[in-house]
């Protein structure tokens, strides 16, 4: 396999691994956070506003981990720096 093929294959495999492994932990954490918040709302319905506001902020902070992985995998696919270097080396 030539250099371009290796770079492309490694980038594809690693971007898939990045988003798949990187979304497992945030998914588990979000499920746990939502379950806890639901049981808290069921116990104290009066505090539903505060709980859901805190829940949204916490969910966004958990979800940002998955978003980082998504950004990294998109960079690997669409804006891979090594790919551009290899193409320019081969072309010129």
């Amino acid at each position: 396999m030539d250099t371009l093929g290796i770079i492309g294959a490694v980038a594809m495999i690693m971007s898939g691994l990045t988003i798949s492994i990187g979304s497992i932990a945030p998914a588990l954490a979000e499920g746990r956070a939502v379950a806890q918040a639901l049981s808290a709302i069921a116990q104290q319905p009066d505090e539903a506003n505060t709980i859901s506001r805190t829940l949204f902020v916490g969910l966004a902070m958990i979800e940002s981990v998955a978003i980082y992985c998504f950004v990294v995998s998109l960079i690997l696919i669409f804006a891979n720096p090594f790919w551009n270097i290899a193409v320019s080396k081969m072309g010129g």
Partner: protein, 236 residues
């Protein structure tokens, strides 16, 4: 595949380039300024406000209540900064219902600029509230060893603010672009509705996190002083 609207260039002359991010940022700012000017042009104090004035008053009241709930302080001094952050991000995310519009928050440069504003405003509000000594003192709060961690924390939370907003908005437009090439008939509309919801929630979260960071710098010292004073002497 475009990852940011920076790459769409409308016009350039010599070193000056006008890309889609700058254009749509100014468009959103113009819409906000013109809209609020039109709405408050004939402001009245009686019980029959115009409907636009009513809308703006409801928005401002909502933001004041939220800021008061989150920071447990009077919202007056925080409202201009946090409220403008929320209004700008919400407007730039919600305008995606207009065809041909690219949200400027889907560009990393815009979100880094907004997060840098938050980074600079934290010491500004902290010094204004606690004085320079009181603000610098909270960096070495439990012990001197914590100083590098506080400084690292300041920068990592700025980066996370910027990348969170950028990643959410950019992923929305990338997913719509991918779906347009796979199933162009009906699916992109559903994802666009989801994008509206995500855009509003992200605007809210950005403003809430900015408020939390500012409030944590502005109250850490004041609470200790209050605890030392006599109880029941509330601060407005």
């Amino acid at each position: 595949m475009r990852l940011s609207p920076d790459e769409i260039i409308f016009w350039h002359w010599g070193p000056v380039t006008l890309n889609a991010t700058i254009f749509f940022t100014w468009l959103v700012m113009g819409v906000l300024v013109l809209g609020s000017w039109l709405a408050t042009r004939r402001m009245t104090g009686d019980f029959h406000p115009t409907r636009w004035q009513n809308l703006l008053e409801a928005l401002v009241t909502l933001m004041r209540d939220q800021i008061r709930d989150i920071s447990r302080q009077e919202p007056g001094r925080y409202l201009p900064f946090v409220g403008s952050l929320f209004l700008f991000i919400a407007a730039s995310n919600l305008l995606i219902i207009i065809p041909g519009y690219e949200p400027p928050t889907g560009s990393l440069s815009t979100t880094v600029a907004l997060a840098a504003c938050v980074l600079l405003s934290v010491p500004f509000y902290g010094v204004a509230r606690n004085g320079l000594r009181g603000y610098v003192k909270h960096y070495i709060e439990p012990s001197f060893i914590m100083l590098p961690f506080h400084i690292i924390g300041e920068f990592t939370r700025t980066v996370s603010l910027a990348v969170r907003l950028y990643g959410n908005i950019m992923s929305g437009s990338v997913i719509i672009a991918i779906l347009l090439s796979i199933a162009p008939l009906f699916f992109p509309i559903i994802m666009q509705v989801l994008g509206l919801l995500v855009g509003l929630i992200q605007a809210y979260i950005f403003a809430v996190l900015a408020m939390v960071y500012i409030a944590s710098a502005a109250t850490a010292h004041a609470e200790k002083e209050q605890a030392g004073q006599q109880p029941g002497k509330g601060e407005s």
